[in-house]
């Protein structure tokens, strides 16, 4: 792709190293102009790299496993995408998911529908509390959700002590949902994720609420002056985030078939990473769920690649941090150029 004149005219350090800078800015432009296409390209490259390191990786079976791994992250990152589109952040997604997973395991013996209903209700209540704090009491999203994560984490630790009396059981139906496949290769949890994704993609693009979410993230003051009830938009956003996190927790506990206190903890940075990789700005108002889906898939394939390369959990954590930082920087630079 050739760089547009605007990109090369930037008053930048590029003057010192013209050639790499031009190529670099070309990559940036393509990321800005066609984020989905570029991200899909990165995904294909990663798949190819993984296949090169571990021949036979790109098989229907492995791709199905990749989808299986990606679905919980995709659901978790969906809530994060909504929060970040409104200019906020939700640091309670992983705690909510873990709490939902715990409820499934703890109440599994009392019937699957009941356990599912309670887990989803928990997501609803957590999301509504977040939404009331952020929308009505104007608490910064970061503080509200960080506090919520603390409350949930402490409550879970307490609850886990009572679980030691009985053996927590994940219902078979949930286990099947989280790890089974149909038609040979299609994971069941993808059948949960895909409709959610379609609803979110269409809803964000076409519905009034979707537009309001973008508008609130873009300029909350202008929204209020234009008669948008900003607090209602924020409330709905965080309620959706809570429910989506609970769904992610259900899929996750179905996959692992056991709940522990740190079940979803590693997914917190990953959920932010998937959104940032997908090109949604934390300042709100730009981006979308399509990028997040690709971000979740890229992270999942990258995780497989790093596991094959025998990189430790510590190394992975550092690398994800670096990737988030690097990509956020590239996106910020591109936004500046425009």
């Amino acid at each position: 792709m050739t760089p547009s004149p605007a990109a090369t005219d930037r008053p930048d350090t590029g003057a010192l190293r013209p050639r790499p800078a031009v190529r670099w800015s070309a990559a940036r432009r393509s990321l800005a102009d066609r984020p989905a296409l570029t991200l899909a390209g990165i995904l294909v490259l990663l798949l190819a790299a993984t296949d090169a390191v571990s021949p036979g990786f790109v098989t229907p079976h492995q791709l199905s496993t990749t989808l299986l791994y990606a679905a919980p992250l995709g659901a978790l990152a969906a809530g994060q995408t909504l929060a970040m589109l409104t200019g906020g952040i939700d640091l309670s997604v992983s705690a909510t998911a873990t709490a939902a997973a715990y409820l499934i395991a703890g109440l599994g013996a009392q019937g699957t529908p009941r356990a599912l209903a309670v887990a989803l209700a928990l997501g609803l209540v957590v999301g509504m509390t977040n939404g009331i704090g952020i929308g009505i009491f104007r608490v910064q999203p970061l503080i509200m959700t960080l506090g919520m994560a603390g409350v949930l984490g402490g409550a879970l630790t307490l609850a886990s002590l009572t679980f030691t009396n009985g053996v927590p059981v994940v219902p078979d139906a949930v286990h099947e949902l989280g790890s089974g496949t149909v038609l040979g290769y299609l994971p069941l949890n993808t059948l949960v994720w895909a409709p959610l994704a379609v609803v979110l993609l269409v809803g964000l693009a076409r519905s009034g609420l979707g537009r309001a979410i973008y508008a609130v993230g873009d300029n909350p003051l202008a929204c209020r002056l234009a008669g948008v009830r900003v607090w209602q938009v924020l409330l709905v956003t965080y309620v959706l985030g809570g429910v989506l996190s609970a769904i992610a927790g259900i899929l996750l506990v179905g996959y692992t078939n056991a709940a522990d206190l740190n079940l979803a903890t590693p997914y917190l940075l990953q959920s932010v990473a998937a959104v940032v990789i997908g090109g949604t700005s934390i300042l709100g108002g730009s981006g979308g769920y399509a990028g997040t889906i690709l971000g979740a898939l890229i992270l999942t394939v990258l995780d497989s690649l790093l596991t094959i390369l025998n990189v430790s959990q510590a190394g992975k954590q550092m690398l994800y941090g670096a990737i988030v930082l690097g990509l956020a920087w590239i996106y910020a630079r591109t936004a500046l150029v425009e």
């Binding site: 960080l146 934390i282 959990q313 550092m318 690398l319 994800y320 988030v324």
Partner: protein, 331 residues
Amino acid sequence: MTDPSAPGLEVRRPMAAGRAIRRSAWTVTIVGLLGALLVVEKLVHPALNVFDMQSLVDGALPLCLAAMAQTAVVLSGGIDLSVGPMMSLVNVVSALLMTHATSGQAVLIALGVVAAVVAAGALTGAVIVATGVPDIIVTLATGFVWGGLALHVMPIPGGAAPAGFAALMTGQLGSVPSGLVVIVAALAFLWEPVHRSPAGLALYAVGSNRAAAYLSGVAVGRARVAAYALGGAFAALGGLALTASTTNGNAASGTSYTLTSVAATVLGGVSLVGGRGGMIGPVAAALLLTLINTLLTFEGVDPNFSLVVQGAIVVLVVMVAGLVLVRRRGA
């Protein structure tokens, strides 16, 4: 007590008494609440003695320092989500280096670690300023990098610290807990010089209104980098306090301090938008939060419940503050 939240202002013109009281009212309330709770503790637990006071200060020391680290950054209009992981990293690195060290060597190691973390803090600040990526994202990412490094350095708890070094931070100096000396020293020798200097004024100015500060000729970038470097110094001391109090290293030791440092900062009357608040309030709030835990433990409440209480306190305080703000704007 002098108003900690108005640097330099009192030099230029005498502040209206009402305004001065209103400004420091929050800090006074927190300190008063701390005193009241101490009295309650004395009533609940009549055998309260110097030793109990020392264990309270020892328990509160890492949180006090974490709160100071967070406050330095928040005052400049940022937020540091890497405080906890950085304290873990300092804890494991110092415990590893001090395993076979004498107390003298341990102090040198501690100084080296503080210097390195100040540099790391400055680097974080520089990345934020240079890239224009929001503080939350940068510190969330660096937090994961520090946490990963800590796990890499020490996958399982280990290391050690010489008794002399441990006594330096958590022992007794005369009849005063040395933790209290560390806190006062950090306030007097790290915070006050900055607070009273033009750099301190720049820090508050940048936090209060970045555009106005820029237009008045404040070096905005430099002030923000300085805030993160100062925060790094406090976070390093916090990590060292963990090493001194546990005399070993654990990659998970600092994890909870990200949330609790924000809690103490908010509870200490520091505005999360930046530019408003002082350092006394957060330190008093950190002592208060620790004391609440101690009291709850005395009452037989599960220690894990403290995280629930702390999270709820933060949210409630911020909600009430938000409500007051909305009311005042409406009036």
